[in-house]
């Protein structure tokens, strides 16, 4: 897909990590935009986020370096001295923790991106949990988690809701408080059961549309 001799060669040989991160990111982004199923969108979202995390972790890598936890010889409470653990003061008196020398820094991977990514993972799972709750709520309301079906159902509901209150009130007398109450309900909560206030034609139209969501979930295997 990305034909450009030098760059591709360089990427595949030298920077495969960076290349794969871009590929994963694009897979995720594409899924978020073009998948119709809401759960699929969320899987795409998670792939998108993990790709970014992969990128950050790649920044932190150093050749020949170990994980960012002090080795025994650098450990402030290490085994090297003979007063392991116990209160800091006592240990300090014999063998206080020492700052690493400049050339020793190379021995450890960069801890900062790791920290940032811990936070990002947590944010990711929080977003995922919230989004799953939204999906359930949408399924309760509309009986589908396919975006295209959802859109048609929402449009139908919106059409009902955005009707002018004058029009819906016209045939009976406009003074009745009941009429305006119905209009409010339809505006504020198009999908909630629009109650008992019979509106003749429009109510008859409403009912079957309301029933549909239930039948989607009620299919038995």
């Amino acid at each position: 897909m990305f034909e450009d001799g030098a760059i591709v060669n360089e990427l595949l040989v030298e920077r495969l990590n960076y290349f794969i991160y871009v590929v994963l990111l694009l897979i995720g982004l594409h899924a978020m935009i073009s998948k119709r199923n809401l759960i699929k969108k969320l899987i795409g979202m998670s792939i998108f986020q993990t790709a970014i995390i992969l990128f950050y972790v790649s920044i932190a890598v150093k050749e020949e370096a170990t994980i960012p936890i002090y080795k025994a010889e650098h450990d402030p409470h290490g085994e090297v001295h003979h007063h392991p653990e116990k209160g800091g003061e006592e240990a300090e008196a014999h063998h206080g923790p020492v700052a690493l020398k400049d050339e020793e820094i190379k021995q450890y991977a960069n801890p900062l991106p790791h920290v940032l990514m811990l936070t990002a993972i947590v944010v990711g799972v929080a977003t995922l949990g919230l989004a799953l709750a939204l999906t359930q709520r949408i399924y309760q309301g509309y009986g589908t988690i396919e975006e295209d079906e959802l859109l048609t159902k929402i449009e139908r509901a919106d059409d009902r809701a955005s009707q002018s209150p004058l029009k819906s009130n016209q045939s009976p007398s406009p003074k009745k408080a009941k009429g305006s109450a119905t209009a409010k309900k339809a505006t504020a909560s198009p999908s909630r059961k629009s109650g008992s206030a019979s509106q003749g034609k429009s109510a008859a139209k409403r009912k079957p549309a309301k029933r549909k969501p239930g039948s989607g979930g009620g299919k038995k295997a």
């Binding site: 119709r36 199923n37 759960i39 932190a60 811990l118 993972i121 947590v122 799972v125 399924y139 589908t144």
Partner: protein
């Protein structure tokens, strides 16, 4: 220089897992494969020296998010149109 064999292998598996998770018509399959993807990612990070991140991803990505996702899908339709 660059990336060793193990790394390359996992990277390619990752792409495969991501594509499979997005192609599966059955959402339970998709979320389980997504768990696999997360676990591969966790392996990769552990190999790259990010042990804390790998640990978190193993517990969260491969563990809890998969469970929560499956729990959600049980309340929804299992089939996906794409």
């Amino acid at each position: 220089m660059g990336v060793d064999l193990f790394n390359t292998f996992i990277l390619l598996l990752l792409v495969a897992a991501a594509l499979t998770a997005l192609r599966a018509r059955d959402l339970i399959t998709a979320s389980v494969v997504f768990g696999v993807y997360s676990f591969l990612m966790c392996l990769l990070w552990a190999e790259m020296g990010a042990v804390d991140v790998a640990f978190t991803e193993a517990t969260v990505g491969a563990g809890v998010s998969t469970v929560v996702m499956v729990a959600t899908i049980f309340n929804l339709k299992r089939k996906s149109s794409d």
